[in-house]
Symmetry: C2
Subunit: 223 residues, 2 copies
Amino acid sequence: MWQLYQFPLCPFSRKVRLLMSEKGIGYELQRENPWDGRDEFFHLNPAGRTPVLADHGKGVVLIDSRAICEYFEETVDKNPMINGSAASRAEIRRLVALFDENFFGDVTAPLLHERMKKRLVYRASPDSRMLREAMKLAHEHLDYIDYLIDNRPWLAGAQMSLADLAAAAQISVVDYLGGIDWSGHEQSKGWYALFKSRPSFRPLLAERMDVIQPPSHYADPNA
Amino acid sequence: MWQLYQFPLCPFSRKVRLLMSEKGIGYELQRENPWDGRDEFFHLNPAGRTPVLADHGKGVVLIDSRAICEYFEETVDKNPMINGSAASRAEIRRLVALFDENFFGDVTAPLLHERMKKRLVYRASPDSRMLREAMKLAHEHLDYIDYLIDNRPWLAGAQMSLADLAAAAQISVVDYLGGIDWSGHEQSKGWYALFKSRPSFRPLLAERMDVIQPPSHYADPNA
Ligand SMILES: N[C@@H](CCC(=O)N[C@@H](CS)C(=O)NCC(=O)O)C(=O)O
Ligand SMILES: N[C@@H](CCC(=O)N[C@@H](CS)C(=O)NCC(=O)O)C(=O)O
C-alpha cells in the first residue's frame, strides 16, 4: 500500500492525491510537517519536502510531485492526465509549472507562511502588507485562469488534465486560508465549482489543518 | 528552426541546450534578459521567464525547461535522457527537481543575484554574508553528489541522464560566478570534468556574460 507523507495544506500533496484518486489508486496518509525536520523524514527524502510517496513493502520511494504524477501517468492507464500530442503535453506541463512555481511562489507560499506557519510554528501575527501583496497577485493569476477558460473548456485544452489538478490544488489551499476573492472572476469560479463537487476533491475539503479554520464557503460546492 | 530565448548564465536554458545538443537538435540563440520585462517577451511567456523555445514558422512555443526536455524526450529518439523503468525515470525526475529547485534556490539564485544582477542591474555590491551562506550550501550539495557518485556511475544510475545535465547546468553557472570550491569533493570534480570535455558543453563554456569574467579554471577541462 502507498503511504503518502504530507500535511493537509501542502498543495503538492493535494495535486498527487487528486491524481491518485482520479486514477483509482489507493493510499494511506502519513502526517508529516516538513518544518519539524525529523531525521527519519530526511532519511526518506534528503530534500526534506512533502510529498513523499512510499511503498515500503516494495521498497519504492517516489519524491517530487511532478515526478510522482509522471510515474502514475506511465504506469496506470485509467484517466490519462498528461494526454494528447507532444505539443499538448508540453502545454499541460507548462501550466503545471506555472501553478507549482509561480502561483505557489506568489500566492500559496506567502499565505502558508503568514497564516499557517506563523500561527503554528512561530506564534507570531501575520504581516498584513505581505497578505495584501499575495492577494493582489492572486487576482492576477485568476485573471489568467479567466482568460484560459474563455478560450478552452479546461485549462490546457479540450480535456481535464494535470494542469487543472495543479491549479485546483493551489487554489484550494489559498481558499482555505481566506486568500481567494472570486469577485470579478466568474469563469475561474465556475471552473473551480466543478472541482469542488468531484469525488476526488471531497476528502480534501473535509480535512482540517489543526487549529486553523477555513472560511464557511470553503467546502461548499455551491458557494 | 528553433529559437531559444535565454541569457548565457540561465541554468535552465543551459540544461535545455545540453539536451538539444546531446540529441543533435539545432537551434539559434535569442538573447533575452527576463529582468528587462520586455512586453514582447511577456506576450510569448506570461510567466516572463527564460528559457522559451519557439519555432515561429510552425507556431510552436515551448515553455519551462522540464516541459521542453520532456517534449524532446518524446519526439526525438536519439540519446534518451529519461530512460529505463518507471522507477528509474522517477529517480531521474526526482534529481532534476532537486537541482532545478533546491540547488538553484540555495546556491545558483543567490549567486546570480549577488554577482550578476547587482552588478548589471542594480549597480550595487554583493552582500558577503549571502555569498558565504550560498557557498556553504554548495558544499552540502556537492557532498550529496559525492555520495551519489560513490554509489553509481552517473547521478541517477548506470547511464548519463537528464539528472546529470540538470546538475552540470547549475554547477557551471555557479562555477562561472566563482562559487564552487572543489576541495574535498573529488568524486564530484571527476564527474564534472567528464562534462567539461563533452562537445555539448564546449559552446557553453566559451560564452561570456557581458562584463562578468569567470575564474581562469572555468573553461579548462583539466582544472
Ligand atoms: N517540487 C516539489 C515542491 C515540494 C515543496 O515545496 N513542499 C513544501 C511543502 S508545501 C515543503 O516541504 N517545504 C519545506 C522545505 O522546503 O523545506 C514538489 O512538487 O513536490
Ligand atoms: N521552472 C522554470 C524556471 C525558469 C526560471 O526561473 N528562469 C529564470 C532565469 S534563470 C527567470 O527567468 N527568472 C525571472 C523571473 O522569475 O521573473 C524552468 O525550468 O524553465
